[in-house]
Each structure stands twice: as C-alpha cells, then as structure tokens.
Subunit: 466 residues, 4 copies
C-alpha cells in the first residue's frame, strides 16, 4: 500500500509487520473518520482546514513507522529484550492508527458539547474491545490479546516504556502529525517544525535503576533545535488556530445547540431532523456500553450533524431554531479578549454579569447567548514528562537547563480569556465597557495566569487536549 | 478582510472595489459551498483532498485580484476606454467568486449523476438572477444590472475582452486557482506551477482590426516557461488526480446510486432517507426554474447526500442497498486500463460485453455493476483560445511555434479508457482476458486517440470540464 | 529588469523610480560584491552557504520595494508631507542596495581580523561619497545631494523617520532579507518567517508630539505572530548558524592569519602572495581616506584572499604557513562550550590559562593557537527600538505587554562562551578538565549572562552585528 | 557525521560502510571543490547560483545512500550474488562522491576553454589513481584495488550492472542531485521533481539472458509520473539555466580570455598575474600525467582565476586587457537567437559573416568578439539507456509506449542556436538584419534540428554534458 499524503509525501506500508495498517484502514470504523473533520469548526476561520480524522490517523501511523525505523537504527543502545520486534512494531502501528478511533462528530467538540456523554477515549476503548466491530475482528485475527494491548498503548501503558511514550507523551506521534497537518491545511506556516530532525534527535537513556527500562530522551549534541522548534510550533498553533477567536466562538455556538437539543429532548419534545442515533444517546435509552449504544455512536458523523442543523433551522423551538440559523450560514457569536483586571476571577465575573444583563435586555436567554471562554495551555510542561537531554559522555540534563528558549518557556501558561456574546449586544457592551475595548482590539495577549473558570455561563471546552 | 489561505498565503480584500467580496462571502448561497467538496470523491483516493468549493471560490477571487493588479501595471498599453475602472474590477471579482455558485453536491458529479438535471452553469445563473437569493440582493444593491453582467462574465461575455478571457479561457483565474489548490490538498506536487510568473507574463496585444479590442497575450521574452509549466501542471493533474482510477471508479459507483434512486422514485417507490429536496427535484414536482425548485436545490450539499447514503444502506431495494453499502465504507468498484486493440471502438465493445456477461452470471445487474469509462482531455488546445505570444517588436507568434514543449503537446489528446466492474468478477475477468491484464497492470498509458464512447454501459462523466 | 531570486521568487525593478537599481547594479563596486560571500566562512559548516553580498544587496532592495508598496497602501494614514514621493522611494531603494557596499573580503570578518582597519560602514560612506566611484557617478547624475542622503539613510537618519527605520531598525529590510537568505542557503529552515505578513503588519502611529513625525509600528489585530516569528527566526539563526561552533572556530583561525601577516609585514618582512593592495593597507602607506587607499580596498575580495592563503601555505614563517595549511584544506581549530562555573569571568580566565599552558607545552604559540570566544545577542531588544503595537482604537502597547513570547524574550541575552584551541591539545585538555567536557558535549547552552570578555586571548568578533 | 543540506535536509553518513565518505571529504582534493562553482558563470545570470562542486559531491553521495537503501528494500528480487554487500555500498558511495573530483575552475568550462587541455574525467582518474593524492591514500587504506574500482564505476563499468547505471545513466545519482541543487540555488522552481518517488519507482528486471544480470527498471504501476517529471525538470533546466543567453554569452567571453592567454604565452610573452600552475599547464612544460602536472592542476580553482582576471585588466595586450575588463565587472557580450532560415547551416554562416564584418569594421578582432553558439540536448534519449517499464505480471514496455509525455519527447532535440557579439556592433547588426530581430526578441524557440556547428567562429562548449 502506497499513497500520497500532502503532509508527509510518499506514505507506504509494505512490510509484513505493516500489513495491519491496510487491513485496519479498510474497516467501517476507520472509514467513518473520513466524515469527521480533524479540527471541528476551525474551517469557519481557516477556509482550508477541512482535513479529516482519517488523514490524521494515517499520518500518525506513518510517523510511528518513522519512529520505529529511528529506534531500530539505534538498536544497539538497547538490551535485546527491549528491542522492537515485528510484533511490537505491529502493535505500535495499530495503536497509532487507532488512537483517535473513538472521536465523535466535530472531534473533541462532541464530547464537550453533549451533556453527560462519554469521552472519546472511552469510545476508542469500546470500539477496539467490542467483538462486533470490524476493527476488533482485524486485531484478534492477529492475536486474541491484541485489542487489549492496543488499548493499553493508547493509554500510554506498555512494557516497552519508550514505545508507550511515543504513543502518548510530549513528542508523541499524534502531536507530531497533527501539528504539521493542521499547519498545512490551515496555512499557518508557523506550525511547521522539522520532523526529520526531531526523529533523529531521539535517543534512549539507560534505566534509572536496576529494575527500570530505557527511557526516551533527546540527543544533546544535535537534538535541541528540533525540540525547541517543535515546542514553538505547538505554541504558535495554539495561539493562531486552536484558540482562534472565531473558531472558539463558533464552537461555543455549537455546544449551545447541543445543550438546547438535549434540554428539549429530555423534556419529552420531538425535534424533527434529530438523527435517531443521537436522540437515543441523549435520552440514554440504552444501558451505557451496550452494543446498541456503540452502534448508535458509530452512525454519527459531521454529515449527520450538518444535516440535522439544516433541519433545526425550521424547528419550532425559537432558541434551537435561532442558534441553528446562525451556525449554518456562519453568523457567529462575537468575542472579546479579556486582560489586565478583566482577566482576574473578579473581573471575569463582573464582565459576564454585564453581558448577561445586556443579553437579557435584548430578549435573549443569557444561558445560550453569552459566556466566558477561558482556554489555556502549558507552553512546555516538564512535570508530566520528565524527558532529559543526553550527552555523549552519558550525562543528562533537563531541557530547560540546556536550552535558552525552553528555559524561558518552561512552566509558563498561555491563556486566552474571552467574553463570547451575540452580535445584538455589541454596541451596548462597548459603551458600557469603554471604547477602547473594541472587538478587534486584540488578537493576542500575554498570559495572566489561569485562575480557573467561572461556574456560571463559562465555556468548558478542553484547552490543552488536542 | 484578511485571512490565511494555505495555497496563496495572505489573502486580503480591503479596497472599496473589493468590498463586494466580503459581502458575497457572507451570503447563505456562498456559505453553502463550505459543504461541497471541490473534488467530489477524490479524497477516497487522495486522503488530503477534502477541500471545498468555498475555499476555491475565495482563491479564485484572490487570483482575479492579482490579475487586475497585473493589468493595471500595464495600463499604458491600453486605450483609456479599455482600462480597468473600479466598477469593472468589482464586477470581475464578483464573477470570479460566483463562477461556481451553482455547483451541487460532489461538484461536477451531481449534474452528471442525476438523470435530467440542470447543468451547474444554469443553476449559477438562476442563483445570481433570482431576486430571492442573498447573492442577488448584494449585487443589485450595487447596481440593478450587475447580476446580468456577472452572468455574462461567467459565460465569457464582456465588453472588455481580456477580462472575459480571464474569467473563462485557457489560463483563467478558475484554472489558476484549482490547479494549485488541488495539488496542495492532494499532495500531487506536479500540479504546482509558478503563478507569479504566469501573471507577469500576461500582455495585451493590440486589436486585430479597427473595431477590435486589445487581446490577452503572452510576453515572448519571459513568459514562455510560465505557460509551459502551467500546461504541464494541468496535464499532470489530469493524469494523476482527475483521471485517477480509484477516483473514477468511486464516481461511477455514486452515479449508479443516483440512477437507481431516480429509477425507484419514478416508479413511485418511497425511499427512506431521501432528502425531500432531492426527491422533489427528481420527480420534477415543480416547474423548472420556479422559486421552489431553486430552493430545493440550495438545500442539497455533500452532508445531505452522505446522510442519505448512510440510510440507503438499509434500503429495501437490493441494488440501492448494496451499492450504498459499498460506497459508505469505501468498497469500491475495480477498474482496468484498456490499451492497444482493447482501446479501439470494437475492442471496448468486446471487453464490455465480456464484463456484462460475467456480471450477469454472478447475479448482478450489468447496468449497475459494470461499464466503460473513457475520459479524455486536450493537452494544449489552441483552437478554442487563439492566444499569441508577443515580442518586443510587436510581432506575434503561436505558442506552438516558439515553445519546444507546447509544439509537442499542441492538439494532442490524453485519454484513459477503462473498464469498471465489481470485485466479484475480478478473477473470472482476468482469466478470460489473459493474465497480463492484472488490475494493477498499468496506471498510465499513452493516449490512443479518443474514438468516442459507447452508448451502452459507458460512463459519461465530463472529462475536460473541471 | 526582472530576474529570479531563489529567496523572493520574481524580482523586478521596472518603474521609473526603480531604474536607479539597475544602474547601480551595473557599477564595478556592486559587481565586486559578487566575489564576497555573505557569511564569511560559514560554508565550512553549512556547505550550501556560499551566497554572496551581491545577492543580499539585490534582495534587500527588493524588500524595500515591498516596504514602499506597503506604506503606499496605507498612505491615507500619513500627512501629505510625510508620504513616499518617487524621489524618496528612489533614495530608499538606493540606500537598501548600497547599505553593505563597503564590506571587505569575508564580510564582517575582514574589519575584525585586520588590526586597525576601518569599519565597513566607513568604507560604504567613502565609496558613496568619493567622486571617483561609479556608484557615486550614478547617484549624482540623479541629484548632487543624493550621495550624502544615501549615506544618511544608511546611518538611520532621514526626515521621514519611518523610512530611516526601514533601512536601519529592528525589522529593517537588511534583516528581512538576510534571515530568509541565510536560511535558504544554509538549509536551516528555522530561519524562515513570513515576510508577507510582516510587511502587512506595519502601521504608522501618529507623532508623539506636535513637532514629531509618524512612527513605524505594528498592527495589533493581525501583526503579532509576524513579529514573534521574525524574532524567533533571528534567534534560531544566531543559535544555529551565526554562532555555530565550527563557523566560529574557522573565523578565529582566519583572524589569526591576518594578525600574523600584519605582524610580519610590520616587521619589514616580505610575504610572497600578499596582494599588493592588502600590503599597502596594512602598512598604511597611504593617508587614510585617500583615493589610493579606497582603490586598494576595492581590489580586495574573497578570491584574492583565498589565492593569498594558498600561497601562504608555502610561507617561510612557520606560524603563517601552519595556520594557512590548516585553513585551506579545512583543518579547523576545535572548540569547547563553557557553562556553569566555567562561564563566569573567573571560570573563563581559569580555563584559558589551562589551555594556554597546554598549547605552550605542545610547542605552539598560545597567542595564535588558543583563545576565548564569547559571542552574545539580545533576543528582543526593546531599548534601542521603542516600537509599539497599535490597536484599532488608537491605543498603543509595548510588544512585551501583548505578546506571550516577546514577553518571555524581552531583554534576554543569548550567549555562547567557548574555548577555542588546536586539535593537538585536545586529549590533554579533556584529561585536565574532566571527562564530561568532551568537545561534542554540547551544542547549545542557556545563556548565563554576558559578563564581559577577557582581555587576554579572547576573540573579539562582533556578535550582534550581522 | 551529520549535517544540513539546503537541498536534501538532513544528510548523515553514520554506518560503518559510510565512514569512507567522511574520510574522503577531509582530503585536500575534495576540499578544493569548495572553491569551484558548480555552474561556472551561471551566477552572472542567476544571482543565487554560487553553489560549489563540493556541495554537489556531498549531495550525490547522499542520493547514492538513498539509492542503496531502495535497492536493499527490494533485495529479494535479486539473486544473492547480485545483492549490495557493505563493500559494494562503500565503493558506490566513494564513486558518487568522487565522480567530479577532476573538475577544474568553472567546472566544465575549464576543459572547454583551455586549448588542448585534458577532460575532467581524465583528471578524475589521475587524482584517484595517483599515489600522491590524499584521496588515493584513503581509498587504498580500505583495499589496494579500490582506486581502480572507483574509476571503473565512474565510467559506468561494474560487475553489478544496476550499480554502474546508478553512477552513470539516465537517472543517475549525479543528475538526481544536480537538477534539484541547481534549481534550489538558481530559483528556477521548474527544476524540482520528486526524488522520493523516483527512488521508489526503481525496480530490478530479470536478466535478458542466462549470462546476464538484473537490470535497473521502472515500476509500471507507480513510477511513471516520477520519471516524467524528472525528464521535464531536466528539460526546463536546460531551457532556463544551462542554455541561458547571458550565461552562455559570459562563458563565451571567458573562453576567449583563455584562448588569448594561451596564444600570448605560446608566443613567449609573460603575462603578469598568470598563476604559475596555469602557465605551466598551457606551455605543457611537464610531460602530461606527470606528478608535477597533476600538482599544478590541483592548485587551480575559481579564486585563482578571478584573481588572475583582475590582474589581466591591466595587461599590456589590448585584447586580453579589454576582454578582462568586460568580464570582471560583468559587461557581457550580447546574443541573438536564430530561428527559421537563420537557423539552417547556410543561415548561420551568413549571419556569422555579417557579424564578423561589422566587428572588424569596429576595430575588433572577430576571432575574439563574435561567434556562433549552438547548444543542443536530447529531451529523452532512449538510445543510450534502454530502460524499461516493468509491470506486476513481469511484462516490460518502453517508457515511450506507456507514457503520454515521454512518447511526445522521445528522440526530440532541443537546440538554441545564437549569434554572440560585442555590444559595439549591436545597432548596426539590427539595422542590417531587420528590426524584428531585436536582442530581446526571443528567449526560446522550438528546436529546428541540430544541423551541426560551423567550423569558423563557432562556440564549442559542450551542451549535453553537465
């Protein structure tokens, strides 16, 4: 199997150990990812960002292939029982390909938007372990214990520690692919880093103690620029794309549609156009985890949702109808960056109160028409991932000790607190808050710490989870 | 208005004459193009090719902006009454943006697949001229005669001949954008040419006779490599992407679903999941051109179709059900390149007969399960577009006289005749036709002339119309 | 005039105001820059970095052209007496093209290496003002006061303040070109930033007081990522290229050859192969600034130096001979990063003493065979260039207030202290200093402040001057 | 050993079999290639094209490394005695690195320009076989027969036929590198093709007869676009760069300087500034092939020549002085494309006679100041290299049978006949020949066959030898 990928160029899976990739790609569950956009609604802000979870899954498996090749080129650094056998390589490829198999419509948005829904990781686990799925059937054909091993790998658990880290860690194959992919499709060139050098910079440090295992680490002589540029690429992508104001505002709008829909269905109303699978999920008519439940979930994709939203534009309920009439032809909510005093807990609460009051006066329900959005991300998080930089003499140092840039970014939090509101209150809001806070007033602000989100109308989209 | 486009980089429309772009982009009808993929089903072969008609419309307007700037930089070559006034520039931008507004789901496929449907150009015309559309309302706000002028421009008619050619000609802004865009998203780098040099190579040749107008032409001192590489980029994209065997096979499958659906509906059957708008269109319950008719059309997009196909997987009709169960999880038809004797009219007829017979024996209906596909394209078509190359002394020559490459390609036809068939007959088919014709046997063959397509099961997708 | 530049693509100077570029390019003095490499000896570390000052001069003029176009697109922000007339544009293009006209062989290295020589800025001034040069003759043909105006612009002095800043400032056209150019030719992709967005981000802020002039500033809504990525690109280029250890070690070697040559000539020795012009300069046989002096200078280029070094390989003087026999076939000095205690003033002095002692024991002269190299650069220097970020409501903020990244980099110094030494003492040196300090032990270290360079054998190459 | 190359990215030679690369790179003879530009005087037309033979040698070895990896990934297609052992890989890397070691100043130009000089291939052979060179010493340390084996490989002779073809054939590693490299540095993007896919397209076809060896061939299912785009890239580079009119005109000028210098030296004149090594070579004071002879040759590089030309600007001989005063500050000869009747043998003779007569009238010597240039190249030469395209069923076809493009280009000759002349006769020449033939009148013309070059003042630079 050989194909062209706009991000990685020639992508091929041809060896015996790679055959599993082609078989998994042919399953219904993976093909479904063709109908789920990688970045939810980001294409409303970046018109090129229509790429799918399918292409990302494929790219992630490709990066895993490159990672495996890199590890094998330094096999002599490993004790033989820690080397990458064909079986381990195959398992790793399967995990890379399937790591996001459980995503619902609009990727991360679905689980956030749907009250009480399961996280996509749980869905991934169910899909892989459930005997009814084609994915499961492919895996067990190789080895009855493979589905569980793949689930473990996705959760970062494996006897080969460095392999677990490659699936889920600071520089894992998932991030390696999505940064490049999201950059290519959004056109935000800042997200490009040098994958070839990053892979080349991986080393294996000896176990810390006698019972330990070799640890993934960074080559001190050549590897620093690679991880520096990776870190900056990630930071730029958060600033430019993942935290983009129009993108976040449209995601807010979408979650409110789901909230309203769930509210109405739970009140016993019938909403024309609701996909039966979605209705069943919301009403939890099936015991969670049942076969029917999973079957419902797998019927949902972006197409089903857009078709539903199109129908909701004619719903009886005025809130659902109005919100849908905004989303479909892209008449988005506005947003407003908060900084200085406005970005403190008190400030945010005060601003939100003003917005809620204005929203109410316009005849709109503040629960649906305004809120706070407060995403944040660690620029370089050393606590979770105690990666070291290894020098030829065997000495190890922390990245922040040997890198000028990582030293300055280590432990720093980037946050982008914003008020989101309907266009109807824009004029009054600026009058109330002072002229200088025009909506275009600022794209970006320095982080002022992440002091927690408000309980009220605040927006709980995950920020550091891509 | 300023945004990032992965193909062109910074895209901005900020002057007064460009304001119309932002206003048109905000209309429902243009926003609908966000839900129509530019290349139909090509992403089944090229996993990155999920880009939409919306991003192409935007890119086309951007190229028009560059074209306008180029023409103005050589304004002194024009008599004053042929120069680009602000009004003409505005009209041209609107036409560039709207040139594809009438596309249905899956772009070109829809009109091909749906028996008796209107061509997308007609839909474009209706959308622009109908007082009910937001697009029309934006246009008339500028000038009551603007809608008609835009329609004329799209059809290549305008008092400024070179402007009409820029909207519809050999090197028009539509082609300029889609070659680069399709290359970027499919990853087929061969499709990249140098847009900056192409624009720079445009000149204006004096009228041929006293009543004539200046003609778009190519600068003989610097412009040839630009048009050569454009021509080759286009040829490569046809070879690699537009005529790709998996892409064509999936398009064939999709047209058969539409054919079957229309057949069933016309027999009076009700098919669950059929979008009401589609059903109405197929049954032609409205007089063509009526407001309702257009309203139906505008409700259709890729999402609505995929949702329908998902439902059709459970249709009662075995053919519709089976075909949908192939398309949704990508279990495509196979194809088989024809060349030598097989590519003659007689050869094609013979091969098709064999395939039909084998298909029938397997219990499948040959009308739906096999056929001929015979796309072709002119490598460099001089007849339609008598473009000349102009030298400093004013002399003019044909491109094929001054270019080594265009000389070799001029008037040549690339064709890719193929048999399409269900996987079920594969083994028997090869046995019957001889071992050497394995399905992977050839990606590409030299054109053997384009001797016409067969009436029978042949596949009538447009070839040279992108 | 139109040509291809690998960095900027199509480069054209065609308008009347741009005609001066073509005329200046045809002068002997500019053609001489074809024989001076842009990065001195950097191609010894980066095999592609053989680009010349000539291509950089051309690229700088091209960026100035883009800058002029950007300013004109926001002309309405300026009072009419501050707008860019054709004359001002012409002057700015000339200054951009000529800003480095005074560089000697190996660019910055020559003035550093040659004891008592004039700075390249002085040479630039002489070349522009001297009636004997072709450059001067072109300029005065336009306007007798043009040479002086160009000199002023190069020094950052001009009635139009923003124009002066574009020639010499934090984001000047010189830096804009060389970062991209050095990245393209060295292959260090990290040096790429988005020039198009940077130019688009320029705004003009109103004068600070009644007698003031509009100030170059950054657009707060869209401009931050552009200046952030520019700043990081610059930092990466310093880390990776300008401070590269092999590059710096070879530059050290070259300065020692010049030092030795000057020493010998001043002792009255004749050294075969010394270019007469160089000999005259070193012996200062002409009153500085005399016509003959300039004439001598203009005869020197990289070719003349390499030819001389080739001859010096057979010099009688053992030091000159040996150093040349190292440089020509690239047998470079080694270097050794200093950090922690070693990077303090005391540490550096101590390390240098050890190296000098070992060098002496090997029979080599420590003055020529070892030394300290201590380059440093400000990551984002706000003091020199009080650039502000301007928001739509007219409010202004410092970049470090509104940018997460610039906030972390503002006022920070990157330094790379190193010991440079002959390969002959390598083994003893490591033994003396401890095994962990192997020469490959570290490519990069965090800055530990820049505590001044030692008087002794320290290496005084300019660090923040490119 | 690991480094950055702007063309290939990360370039590393780290395995045991690759160690020879690092050792050869450290030799004087390879380091000398740092001072020889890859494209002679092309940077006079393309200001970025200052790259050296050294970077090309390195890039060629890198492509060989990729080729070896590709062959090993299909090792199972080979009988064991035809596989790439470590020794064979090492030999191939050495041959790739050394294939151009014998180039003189200005690459191909030197041997052309210097009457009676040896071809660079002969010099390569001498350098590799001569016990005095460092290159030889490195090679024999591995194996006393290695120098001869490397020489054989460079000439395309080896027991492993496909390896010989990779060093010298239609798609050899030399061409693979220089097309990409010359494109990167000149900025002519048309020269870029997809190296990764080209390598992937290589297959090994079985021997044609029982005593034969496996043959390098092209994969019929995926490989055609790769060789098509390679072929077109090469054609574009010839059209745009290698046959560029300013480039050819400056090369003509340079050969005339050499001709004049040789003439004067042979008359017994002493010319100040002539490098002694060059003088000795021209006067053939050493028996060809002697140690001294080689020693002289290795002292010559671009730097030595430019230094000499600078001195020649003050030569007593008026012709040598004048020609040098044109070359150094780039005051080149003009040229004039010939086509139609002018491009026939008679036409060329006639045009040359006119030019010679005008040149003589101006007081210039026609032997030095005008001439014909008539370069040509085969677009796709099948005769030399009977490469086939192999399909999965084992059938083989000629590229021109299965590729639309190669079919149209096969056996076609691109030629660019031109008259070269001094600027002094320009006006009279156009008057004489008719207004329409202005010097800018045409950049490119279709080939009109290659009817041989005239004996007289014709220019005998090699055309198809890069």
């Amino acid at each position: 199997m050989i194909l062209r990928d706009p991000v990685h160029g020639l992508v091929a899976f041809e060896n015996d150990e790679e055959k599993i990739v082609e078989e998994l790609l042919a399953t219904k569950e993976l093909q479904r990812l063709r109908r789920i956009r990688q970045l939810g609604l980001a294409s409303l802000a970046y018109p090129g960002a229509d790429h799918t979870r399918f292409s990302h899954a494929l790219g992630t498996a490709h990066v895993m292939r490159l990672f495996i090749a890199r590890i094998r080129s330094i096999h002599e650094e490993l004790p033989f029982w820690q080397r990458l056998t064909s079986e381990r390589a195959r398992d790793a490829l399967a995990a890379a390909l399937l790591h996001d198999i459980g995503h619902g419509p609009f990727s991360h948005l679905f689980e956030t938007a749907l009250p009480g829904s399961r996280a996509h990781e749980e869905w991934s686990e169910m899909i892989i372990l459930s005997p009814q799925t084609e994915v499961h059937q492919v895996l067990v054909r190789y080895d009855p214990s493979l589905p569980q091993r793949v689930v473990d790998l996705i959760h970062g658990r494996h006897e080969i520690a460095y392999l677990a880290r490659a699936v889920s860690g600071m520089f894992d194959v998932d991030r390696c692919d999505y940064l490049l992919r999201d950059a290519h499709f959004s056109g935000v060139n800042y997200g490009r880093y040098d994958l070839e050098w990053l892979l080349r910079s991986f080393r294996l440090a000896p176990p810390l103690n006698s019972g330990g295992t070799p640890r993934l680490s960074i080559d001190g002589t050549k590897g620093l620029p690679a991880i520096e540029s990776f870190t900056l690429a990630r930071l730029f992508m958060f600033q430019q794309v993942y935290f983009h104001k129009s993108g976040r505002a449209s995601e807010y709008l979408l979650t409110k549609i789901f909230t309203r829909l769930a509210h109405l269905l739970n009140e016993g109303r019938r909403i024309a156009g609701t996909p039966p699978a979605l209705e069943a999920m919301i009403l939890q008519q099936q015991p969670p985890g049942s076969t029917t439940d999973l079957d419902h979930y797998l019927r949902l994709d972006d197409a089903a949702m857009w078709t539903a939203f199109a129908d909701f534009q004619e719903a009886e309920d005025p809130v659902l109808r109005d919100l849908s009439q905004r989303l479909v032809p892209r008449r988005l909510f506005k947003s407003f960056d908060l900084f200085g005093d406005d970005a403190t807990s008190e400030g945010k609460a005060r601003i939100l109160r003003i917005a809620e009051s204005l929203t109410r006066e316009t005849g709109l329900d503040p629960e649906y028409y305004c809120g706070l959005d407060d995403p944040s991300v660690q620029a370089f998080d050393v606590s979770k991932d105690p990666l070291t930089v290894v020098f030829p003499d065997g000495s190890e140092r922390k990245p922040s000790e040997v890198s000028f840039l990582l030293n300055r970014l280590s432990g720093q939090t980037l946050s982008r607190p914003r008020l989101i509101f309907a266009d109807e209150i824009r004029a009054e809001l600026y009058e109330e808050l002072g002229a200088s806070r025009s909506p275009e007033a600022a794209e970006q602000f320095p982080s002022s710490g992440n002091e927690g989100t408000l309980a009220g109308g605040s927006f709980s989209l995950p920020s550091d989870q891509r």
